[in-house]
């Protein structure tokens, strides 16, 4: 491998003018919620820093994270983003394949020991010694551990790598687990979502390249700048929630007027993500804006929380799936009946023994 170019050199080589480059730096600063004074700092970093090698592994997944990622609009267009980092290995996107591709993986790990970023999409299944996901002729879990050992930092792309997602949903036959169950000795940045928003993905990478450190993470390891608030907190339909104006059922008057989707099961109030601010497809829209409730795809175990269209979660431990209110009314009803019966017996007993006490 030749000497790695700086980001700026790569951009210039690809025909990006300096003017576009500076515009990009300002946009990135804005996208990250930083002040305008940060634009020159970003420019300086990109002019002087070598590109950081990134290894992108694919486990048990649907590749929607990659699909989302390649549609990132800000920071700039996809080809620039792919050149910002030195994406040395990504078996889905890279030109080489087979032994050739695997050779690159080994070479990069050896050459940039302790310096590369490991991005993991999908997750490892552990059942049957990991045989449910074979990559390069080996169980994915082995490849993951091998690549993680010498990584500087690890990014968990999407809900699969962060929480487990659909393949870890009950009954989870392959025993798919989020990567933090396998990698316990490295910092992991969780970027959940099914898929995560493109600009969130590139934003996290840009932050790490610019500042040379991990973004500030919340209690569960998600970058605070994108995951510190719920969809509900910044939802443009929030005034209808506060007013008590809801879509009662699909296609009713409330749905046409764009009322709050809370009653038809919107998970916005329990979902931490940036959809209601960053939005999707270059900021065009997001699910709630399209008239459908949030399904909570960036939350842990969202497949196992019952219907996407119910407000109250089903509790499967109760055999037949029931929500808290159904269980509560049944129990309260039973206790009420028991009280009534007990009161009746008490009254009879007391009447019988009334004479004894006097």
């Amino acid at each position: 491998m030749s000497q790695i170019e700086t980001f700026y050199e790569v951009m210039r080589r690809q025909g990006i003018t300096r003017r576009s480059f500076l515009k990009y730096c300002s946009l990135t600063a804005a996208a990250l919620g930083l002040g305008p004074t940060f634009a020159p700092k970003i420019a300086h970093a990109m002019e002087t820093k070598e590109r950081t090698p990134v290894l992108w592994l694919h486990g048990l997944e649907c590749t929607c994270c990659s699909e989302s990622f390649i549609r990132s609009a800000h920071p700039l267009v996809k080809d620039v983003v792919l050149s910002m980092i030195s994406l040395d290995y990504d078996d889905t996107l890279m030109a080489s394949a087979g032994h050739q591709a695997e050779e690159v993986l080994h070479e990069t790990i050896k050459k940039y020991k302790g310096k590369y970023i490991l991005a993991v999409e999908g997750n490892p299944p552990l059942n049957e010694d990991g045989m449910f996901c074979i990559s390069g002729g080996k169980p994915f879990v082995e490849k993951l551990k091998y690549a993680a050992k010498d990584a500087a930092a690890i990014i968990a792309w999407g809900s699969c790598a962060s929480w487990g997602c659909v393949q870890a949903a009950r009954p989870n036959p392959t025993q798919a687990v989020p990567i933090h169950k396998v990698i316990t000795d490295k910092p992991i940045i969780k970027v959940p979502g099914c898929p995560p928003i493109a600009e969130v993905m590139t934003g996290v990478i840009t932050y790490m390249l610019t500042f040379g450190k991990m973004p500030e993470l919340d209690r569960q390891g998600r970058p605070k700048m994108f995951y510190s608030q719920r969809i509900h907190d910044k939802c443009y339909r929030r005034p209808h929630f506060d007013a008590g104006q809801f879509v009662e059922e699909w296609d009713d008057e409330g749905a046409r007027k764009g009322y709050c989707l809370y009653k038809v099961g919107c998970k916005g109030p329990t979902t931490y993500n940036a959809c209601s601010t960053v939005r999707w497809n270059e900021g065009i829209s997001f699910p709630i804006q399209a008239g459908h409730g949030c399904i909570g795809c960036s939350e842990d175990g969202f497949w196992d929380k019952g219907s996407f269209y119910d407000r109250l979660t089903n509790i499967p431990q109760f055999g037949i799936e029931k929500n808290a209110d159904e269980i509560g009314t049944a129990v309260a009803g039973g206790v009420g009946a028991a009280i009534a019966a007990h009161a009746a017996v008490s009254a009879i007993k007391r009447a019988q023994h009334k004479g004894d006490q006097e």
Partner: protein, 247 residues
């Protein structure tokens, strides 16, 4: 006021009033100090508001007509819920303080004597009394052991659970780094995610509703059928006994 007692009058207020007349002839003990009584009724009022508003937050009222700007129904319901939540939590902390500085009856709620076999024997006796297997209950100045057990597991633990999960959820709205998030935010990943905490908080509401139903029924029944006063004690603080027989 004296009147003849008919069987159908047994559960009426008149009967109780008449019993109180009888009781006054007997010894009375000051059990519940003023702060405990005040706390009890503040909690009653707050928990009622919390249950009603909490139910409506999870299953809101039908849609309000008109423009959003003219309505703030969910806002008011949530405000009432959060305010009552603060009151009940502060009152609970105050109650714990009073358990430390108050009389011995103020501590009963928090320390059921789970390791004492004599205590469990009394629990069993009281349970038999409720199952109509004992003719007469025992006399108690404070809580009877079965009542103490129920108060601890249903009420004390239930309230702690609701306060902790409630403020964890409240911290989500206050935002990361807020006092509620710092103190109780750890509950959310512990239970899975926000949705799970919501579900558990709602199940907790039903747990407390079942407690309230049982508590009110038992208090009324004991007031009538046991050998000591119950309801008036939580108003005036004095425990009065209906007979002179020992135990």
């Amino acid at each position: 006021m004296t009147m003849s007692v008919k069987d159908e009058d047994l559960l009426t207020g008149e009967e109780r009033a008449q019993e109180k007349q009888l009781v006054r002839k007997q010894t009375a003990v000051y059990v519940y100090e003023a702060p405990v009584r005040l706390w009890h009724w503040v909690t009653v009022f707050s928990v009622l508001i919390l249950c009603v508003t909490g139910y409506l937050i999870g299953a809101p009222l039908p849609t309000m007509p008109g423009e959003a700007i003219d309505n703030y129904l969910m806002g008011y319901i949530r405000f009432a819920h959060f305010t009552a939540g603060y009151i009940v939590a502060i009152a609970f902390v105050g109650r714990i303080y009073w358990a430390i500085v108050g009389n011995s009856h103020a501590r009963e709620l928090f320390f059921p004597k789970l390791l004492s076999s004599a205590w469990w024997k009394e629990v069993w006796h009281e349970a038999r009394w409720y199952l109509f297997m004992e003719k007469t209950p025992k006399k108690y100045i404070g809580h009877n052991p079965l009542g103490q057990l129920a108060m601890f597991f249903f009420f004390v633990l239930g309230m702690i659970f609701m306060i902790v999960t409630g403020f964890a959820l409240y911290g989500e709205g206050l935002g990361q780094g807020s006092w509620a998030d710092e103190m109780f935010g750890w509950v959310i990943p512990l239970m899975g995610q926000s949705q799970d905490v919501h579900t558990w908080h709602r199940l907790g509401m039903w747990y407390l509703i079942v407690f309230i139903m049982t508590h009110v029924y038992v208090a009324v029944r004991e007031d009538i059928m046991s050998r000591q006063s119950l309801i008036s004690t939580m108003v005036g603080g004095w425990r009065m006994f209906k007979d002179d027989r020992p135990d």
